[in-house]
C-alpha cells in the first residue's frame, strides 16, 4: 500500500499546490480589490492543504523527502495533479469556473476524508472541509453572477465552460492506485464523489442560466503524470529560485 498511498496523496496534494500557484498570479491583478484579497486568501488555504498532504506523502514514502523537496524538485511528469488545475487563468470567467469545479470536488473530498484511517489526514480534513465550504460559496456565487449577468459575462462563461468542461471529470476516474488507497481507508474512492459533485454543479449551472454540457471523453492523465504543456511553464516559474539557489535561506 505504501507506494499507492503516496501516489494517492500526491494526486490531491499536487492538485492543491498547482491551483494555489495559479491563483497567486491574480494577486495585484484581480478586477477589484475585494476579489484580489479573496483569491489570495483562497490560495493561502489551498496551499496550506497542499503542505499538509505533501508532508504526509513524504512521511509515508519514507525516503526523507519533505514538502519543499516534493514541491520544488519534481519535474512535470512526476506531478500527479488534475489537468483542470494547470489550465491557464484565462479571463475571470475561466478562473472562477475552474475554481468552482475544483471547490465542488474538494468540498465532498474533504468531508469524506475526515473519516480517513490516517489520523493526521483526518485532522487536516476536519479543518479543510470548513474552508472548502467557504470557498465553494464564493466561486459558486461568481459563476451565477457571471452566467446570469450581462450578455458579455454570459458569453465568457459559455466559452469557459467549452474550454474547461472536458477536464472536469478526471477527478472521478478510479484506477488501481485509487482502489488500493481507498481499500485501506486512506482516501475516499474518487468515483464515490461524483454524484454529489454533479448535483451541486448542475444546480449552480442552472441557476447561472448556463447549460450542463453532455459528458465528453474526459481528458485524463494528469494523475498518472501525463500533463498538458501548461504545467511545465508553471513549474519553471514556481521552482526557479529553489533550483538556482538550493538550500538558500532568508
Amino acid at each position: 500500500m505504501g507506494d499507492h498511498g503516496v501516489e494517492a496523496l500526491l494526486r490531491i496534494g499536487d492538485s492543491c499546490l498547482v491551483l494555489a500557484q495559479r491563483l497567486t498570479a491574480w494577486c495585484g491583478h484581480a478586477p477589484a480589490l475585494e476579489e484580489d484579497i479573496a483569491l489570495a486568501n483562497i490560495a493561502l488555504d489551498v496551499l496550506g492543504h497542499a503542505r499538509g498532504l505533501l508532508t504526509r506523502a513524504g512521511q509515508l514514502e519514507g525516503a526523507g523527502r519533505d514538502e519543499d523537496q516534493l514541491a520544488y524538485l519534481r519535474s512535470a511528469p512526476e506531478y500527479r495533479n488534475l489537468l483542470l488545475v494547470e489550465q491557464p487563468n484565462g479571463d475571470f470567467a475561466h478562473t472562477m469556473l475552474r475554481q468552482f469545479l475544483f471547490d465542488a470536488w474538494t468540498t465532498e473530498l474533504w468531508r469524506e476524508m475526515t473519516a480517513s484511517s490516517d489520523a493526521g489526514l483526518a485532522a487536516l480534513a476536519e479543518k479543510a472541509a470548513k474552508e472548502a465550504a467557504y470557498h465553494v460559496r464564493h466561486s459558486a456565487g461568481w459563476v451565477v453572477r457571471l452566467g446570469d449577468g450581462t450578455e458579455e459575462s454570459h458569453t465568457r462563461m459559455l466559452a469557459a465552460l467549452d474550454d474547461l468542461w472536458p477536464y472536469a471529470g478526471e477527478a472521478f476516474l478510479d484506477d488501481e492506485v485509487d482502489v488500493a488507497a481507498a481499500d485501506v481507508g486512506l482516501v475516499p474512492l474518487p468515483s464515490t464523489l461524483e454524484k454529489p459533485w454533479r448535483a451541486r454543479v448542475s444546480y449552480i449551472l442552472e441557476d447561472a442560466t448556463l447549460p450542463v454540457p453532455p459528458d465528453p471523453w474526459w481528458q485524463r492523465g494528469g494523475r498518472q503524470g501525463r500533463h498538458t504543456e501548461h504545467l511545465t511553464y508553471l513549474l519553471a516559474e514556481m521552482q526557479v529560485v529553489h533550483r538556482e539557489h538550493p538550500g538558500a535561506s532568508w
Binding site: 475585494e34 483562497i42 489551498v46 479543518k127 470548513k130 465550504a133 460559496r137 464564493h138
Partner: protein, 157 residues
C-alpha cells in the same frame, strides 16, 4: 500561583500578530499547557490552514514562556479543528471594542458562517456583507446600512 497558572498568564500576554488587541488565549489558539519541573509544553491549534501567522505565534509563545521556563516546547495539533466557538467572552469583548464584530451564531455548521449581530460602531442590526474575504483569513468585510461605516467581521468558523 501554580506553574500551570503562571504559564497561562504568560500566554495571555502573547498577542495575535495580526489582531494584536486579542491574545492567543482569547482566540482559543492556545489549547493546553503541561508543566514538568522547569519544562513546559504548550499545545496550539491553527485557525486557518493557510494562516501565515502560525509560525510567528509559535515563536512568540516560546519567547514569552522562556521568561519563566528553562525549556519550552510548542506542539501544533490540528484535531479537534479550531472553531470560533473557542473565542472566549473576553476575546469577543476585546474584538468588539476594537471595531471588529465578533463571530455570530450559526444555524448550520459548515453551511453557515454566521452574521454579525450588530454594527460595532453604532450598534445597529442593519448590516450587510460587502466581501466574503477580508484583511486576514479569519475576517470578512461588512458594512452598516444605518451609520454607513464598513467594518471587519470575525467569521463564525
Amino acid at each position: 500561583m501554580t506553574a500551570v497558572q503562571e504559564a497561562w498568564d504568560l500566554l495571555a500576554q502573547v498577542p495575535d500578530p495580526e489582531l494584536p488587541t486579542v491574545s492567543v488565549v482569547d482566540l482559543g489558539i492556545a489549547r493546553a499547557v503541561a508543566v514538568t519541573g522547569d519544562s513546559v509544553v504548550v499545545t496550539i491549534t491553527p485557525t486557518y490552514s493557510g494562516c501565515p501567522a502560525m509560525r510567528e505565534i509559535e515563536h512568540d509563545v516560546k519567547v514569552r514562556l522562556a521568561e519563566r521556563f528553562a525549556d519550552v516546547e510548542v506542539r501544533t495539533v490540528l484535531s479537534p479543528a479550531w472553531t470560533t466557538d473557542w473565542v472566549t467572552d473576553e476575546g469577543r469583548r476585546k474584538l468588539a471594542a476594537s471595531g471588529i464584530a465578533p463571530p455570530g451564531t450559526r444555524m448550520l455548521p459548515l453551511l453557515d458562517f454566521g452574521r454579525p449581530a450588530t454594527c460595532p460602531h453604532c450598534g445597529s442590526a442593519d448590516v450587510e456583507e460587502l466581501a466574503g474575504f477580508g484583511s486576514t483569513a479569519c475576517k470578512a468585510l461588512w458594512r452598516c446600512t444605518a451609520c454607513r461605516e464598513p467594518f471587519d467581521y470575525f467569521k463564525a468558523h
